[in-house]
C-alpha cells in the first residue's frame, strides 16, 4: 500500500515530463523545416538563410524587421530562423540551410565560440557565410566572408569626442560618472574603452565613478541614486545605453537637479524612448547603434554570391544625434 502511494505520483511526474518533452520535440520539428521546397532556384533568385538570435529587445525586433523588409525589396528569397537565444538551435538552422543548398548564409551568433565545425561544413558545401551584429572568435578567418555590425569602440569614441568639443572652454575639472553595461559584455567593454580614449584629449575631463547598471532602467536608476549622494558635483553622465540613461533621469529629478542642464547626459543606442528624451531636452547627445542593417546585408549577399571580394569587416551605417537632430528624426524612427 505504502509502495503504491509513493509510486503513483512519480508515474505522474514521468507522464508530465514525457508530455513536456513531446511538446518541445514537436516544436523543434516545427522549427526546423523552414521550407522543404527550397533548393537552389534556377530562376537566378538568390536564397539567403538567416538565423536570428531571438527577440529579446526592441532593438532586435527592429533588426529582424529591417532584414525581412530589405530582402523583399532586393528580390532575395529569405529563409528566416529564430534561434531563441540557443546555440543548438542556431547550429541546427545552419545545417538545415546547408542541406537546402541556400546561396548565402547569414547569422547573428548567440555566443562567440563553438562555431568552427558548422562553419567548416558550410565552407565545404561552398556556401559563403556573413556574420551580422556579433562576431565569432574562430581563429580561421576564412570560415566566413565578412562581419557586418556596429563598432562599439567607435560609438564610445563618438560620445567622448562630442563631450571634448562641448567642454573645450572648461577651465576647471569636469566630473563624469559612467553607467556601464553588463560587466564583461562586448558593448560595455568597447564603449568604455572608446569613451576613455576620446576624453583623454582633455585632462580636465575626469571619470569620478563608474558602475554597472546591467543595461536596465532599474539598474541605471539605482546606481545613479548613489552616485548623486556620494558626489556632490556631477557634471556629465555617460550611459552605455539609453535605458540606463532613462532610469538615471528619474534619480536625477528626484535629487532636485535638472537632467540635460545641471547634468549633461550622453547615451548610446537611440531607441525610441531615448530619442524622445533627447528631443525633450533631457538627454544631450546619443551615439546611434543602428539595428537597420538589412539593406547593407542584402547588398553584401549579392556581392558574395557573385564571387566579388568584400572587406573582412564592414561597419553598420550609423550616426549621432544632438537635441535638434532628434526632433527632426523622431517622427521617422522605426524602433
Amino acid at each position: 500500500m505504502k509502495r503504491m502511494r509513493t509510486y503513483l505520483p512519480s508515474r505522474k511526474v514521468i507522464a508530465v515530463l514525457a508530455a513536456a518533452l513531446l511538446a518541445t520535440g514537436t516544436a523543434a520539428c516545427g522549427n526546423s523545416d523552414t521550407g522543404d521546397n527550397a533548393g537552389k532556384g534556377d530562376d537566378g533568385k538568390i536564397t539567403l538563410g538567416f538565423s536570428q538570435v531571438g527577440a529579446e529587445s526592441g532593438w532586435r525586433t527592429a533588426n529582424t524587421t529591417s532584414i525581412k523588409e530589405a530582402a523583399s525589396a532586393a528580390g532575395i528569397e529569405l529563409k528566416f530562423d529564430d534561434a531563441q537565444q540557443k546555440q543548438e538551435n542556431q547550429i541546427k538552422a545552419i545545417r538545415n540551410f546547408i542541406q537546402q543548398k541556400v546561396d548565402v548564409i547569414a547569422f547573428s551568433p548567440v555566443v562567440e565560440s563553438g562555431w568552427d565545425t558548422v562553419l567548416k561544413e558550410a565552407k565545404d558545401a561552398k556556401i559563403p557565410v556573413i556574420l551580422t551584429d556579433r562576431a565569432v572568435d574562430s581563429a580561421d578567418k576564412s570560415l566566413y566572408k565578412t562581419f557586418l555590425g556596429s563598432d562599439f569602440v567607435k560609438e564610445g569614441r563618438l560620445a567622448g569626442e562630442w563631450l571634448v568639443e562641448q567642454k573645450k572652454a572648461a577651465s576647471g575639472p569636469v566630473n563624469i560618472v559612467e553607467l556601464q553595461g553588463t560587466t564583461g559584455s562586448a558593448p560595455a567593454n568597447d564603449r568604455k574603452k572608446g569613451f576613455a580614449e576620446a576624453i583623454a584629449a582633455n585632462p580636465n575631463l575626469k571619470i569620478i565613478a563608474s558602475q554597472s547598471g546591467d543595461f536596465t532602467r532599474a539598474g541605471g536608476k539605482q546606481v545613479m541614486e548613489q552616485f548623486l549622494k556620494a558626489n556632490p558635483k556631477i557634471d556629465v553622465l555617460f550611459a552605455h545605453n539609453d535605458d540606463m540613461g532613462l532610469g538615471a533621469l528619474e534619480a536625477i529629478t528626484a535629487a532636485g537637479k535638472v537632467p540635460g542642464k545641471d547634468i549633461t547626459i550622453i547615451t548610446v543606442d537611440a531607441v525610441k524612448d531615448g530619442m524622445q528624451a533627447l528631443a525633450d531636452g533631457k538627454f544631450n547627445f546619443i551615439a546611434e547603434c543602428s539595428p537597420l542593417l538589412g539593406p547593407q546585408l542584402m547588398e553584401l549577399a549579392k556581392k558574395v554570391h557573385n564571387g566579388e571580394e568584400v572587406p573582412a569587416r564592414i561597419e553598420t551605417e550609423e550616426t549621432t544625434f544632438t537635441q535638434e537632430q532628434a526632433k527632426e528624426a523622431l517622427p521617422n524612427r522605426k524602433y
Binding site: 513536456a20 529579446e56 525586433t61 554597472s212 532602467r217 548613489q226
Partner: protein, 356 residues
C-alpha cells in the same frame, strides 16, 4: 557576573544577532567611507538619503522573501517568483498603457487587479503541481521560472513598455508620512502574514507540514491544502513586488524585471534563520535578511567598488554571514574559547577514580 555572561551568551547565540552585526558593520563602513552616508535630509516634503533608498529598494525583495519564507517553511521552494514579478508588472503596465487617461485611479486599480489575478492563477498552477500532482517543488516552479519570462515578453511584445501614470508610479516612488510608500506596503504585508501565522494556528500548521507532511496529514491536517495555499500566497507577494519594480522605473521590461530575485529571496530567507529543510520559519529574520542584501548592493554603489570585484565582495560578506550563523562552525569557536579553563576538571576526574 554569571548573569551577565549568560545574558551575553543569549544575545550572541540569538539567530538574528550576527546578521544585525553585519548590517551595522556595513553601515559603519559606509559612514567611514563617506561621513554623510547616514544623513537624511528633508526634500520636497519627504526624506531623502541613502538610508531611505535602501528602505525603498528593499521593499520588493521583502515582499518576495515573505512569500518564499512560507513556501520554504513547508519544505518547498518557489523559483518562479522572479518571472511572476515580470508578468504581473507587464500586465499592469499594458492595461494602463491602453487607458485613454493613464492617470485615472480606476484604470490603475483595474490594472492591479488584473496583474494580481493572473499571478494568483499562476500561483495556483504551482500549488496544483506540487500539492496535488506531487512534482518536486524545485522542478514544478522551474517550469514557470523559464516559461514565465517568455510569457512576460509576449505580453510586452519584446519591447520595454513605458507608461506615464502618477497613481501607478506612487507604488514605487511615492511617499507616505515622509517615508517611501513601498516600505509601508511591504511592512503591511508582513504584518498581515505575521498576524495569520503567529496569532492563529496557521503558522504552527505550516511548520508541521514542513516538518513531516505525512505525519501532519495523519494527525488531521490537510497538508495538501496548506502546501497549495503557500504557493498562492507567494505568487500574490511576487505580484505586488512586480508592481513596485515596474512602478519604480515607470516601465515594464519583460526581460529584466525581477531577474534573479528568487535567488536573492532565498538568500534573505536563509540569512534570516529559516531552515531550507522546512519546519521552522522566522518572518522578522527574513525582513532583516532582505534589508541586509539591499544594503550590500547599495554599499557597492556608494563605495564605488569596481563592477569586476563587486560580486566577489558580496560573496565574501554573504559567506561570512552564513558561516557565523552555522551552528557547526560556531560550535568550533565556542568550544575553543572555554577550553582554556575547562580542561582542568576533565583531567581531574579520572584521578579521583583511581583510588576509588
Amino acid at each position: 557576573m554569571s548573569n551577565r555572561t549568560a545574558g551575553y551568551r543569549a544575545l550572541t547565540t540569538h539567530r538574528l544577532f550576527w546578521p544585525i552585526v553585519v548590517l551595522v558593520v556595513l553601515l559603519a563602513a559606509n559612514t567611514v567611507y563617506r561621513p554623510g552616508f547616514l544623513s537624511v535630509q528633508m526634500r520636497d516634503g519627504h526624506l531623502y538619503g541613502s538610508l531611505i533608498d535602501i528602505l525603498r529598494l528593499s521593499a520588493p525583495l521583502i515582499l518576495v522573501a515573505l512569500g518564499m519564507t512560507l513556501v520554504i517553511a513547508t519544505g518547498g521552494i518557489d523559483l518562479s517568483v522572479g518571472s511572476l514579478c515580470a508578468i504581473s508588472g507587464a500586465i499592469a503596465c499594458l492595461h494602463i498603457s491602453e487607458q485613454p487617461d493613464q492617470n485615472s485611479v480606476g484604470g490603475v486599480l483595474t490594472a492591479l487587479a488584473l496583474g494580481l489575478g493572473v499571478a494568483l492563477v499562476l500561483g495556483a498552477w504551482n500549488g496544483v503541481l506540487v500539492a496535488v500532482i506531487g512534482i518536486q517543488p524545485i522542478i514544478a516552479t522551474l517550469i514557470l521560472m523559464v516559461a514565465g519570462r517568455g510569457l512576460a515578453q509576449l505580453i510586452t511584445e519584446g519591447q520595454i513598455l513605458t507608461i506615464n501614470s502618477d497613481p501607478y508610479k506612487a507604488i514605487g516612488v511615492g511617499h507616505l508620512l515622509t517615508l517611501p510608500l513601498a516600505i509601508f506596503i511591504a511592512l503591511a504585508a508582513a504584518l498581515v502574514v505575521a498576524a495569520f501565522t503567529r496569532r492563529t494556528a496557521l503558522g504552527l500548521i505550516i511548520e508541521s507540514v514542513g516538518g513531516n507532511a505525512q505525519a501532519s496529514r495523519l494527525a488531521g491536517i490537510r497538508s495538501a491544502r496548506i502546501t497549495f495555499l503557500v504557493y498562492v500566497i507567494s505568487a500574490a507577494c511576487a505580484a505586488v513586488a512586480g508592481f513596485m519594480m515596474t512602478a519604480n522605473v515607470s516601465s515594464a521590461d519583460g526581460n529584466a524585471a525581477g531577474l534573479w530575485v528568487e535567488l536573492d529571496a532565498i538568500l534573505a530567507v536563509v540569512i534570516g534563520g529559516t531552515s531550507l529543510a522546512g519546519g521552522r520559519f522566522s518572518l522578522g529574520g527574513t525582513i532583516l535578511g532582505a534589508l541586509l542584501i539591499q544594503t550590500l548592493t547599495t554599499t557597492v554603489y556608494a563605495m564605488n567598488i569596481s563592477p569586476q570585484t563587486s560580486l566577489l565582495f558580496k560573496a565574501v560578506v554573504v559567506i561570512a554571514v552564513c558561516l557565523i550563523q552555522a551552528p557547526g562552525f560556531r560550535a568550533r569557536f565556542a568550544r575553543r574559547r572555554p577550553s582554556a579553563a575547562a580542561p582542568a576538571p576533565v583531567t581531574e576526574q579520572p584521578k579521583e577514580q583511581v583510588p576509588a
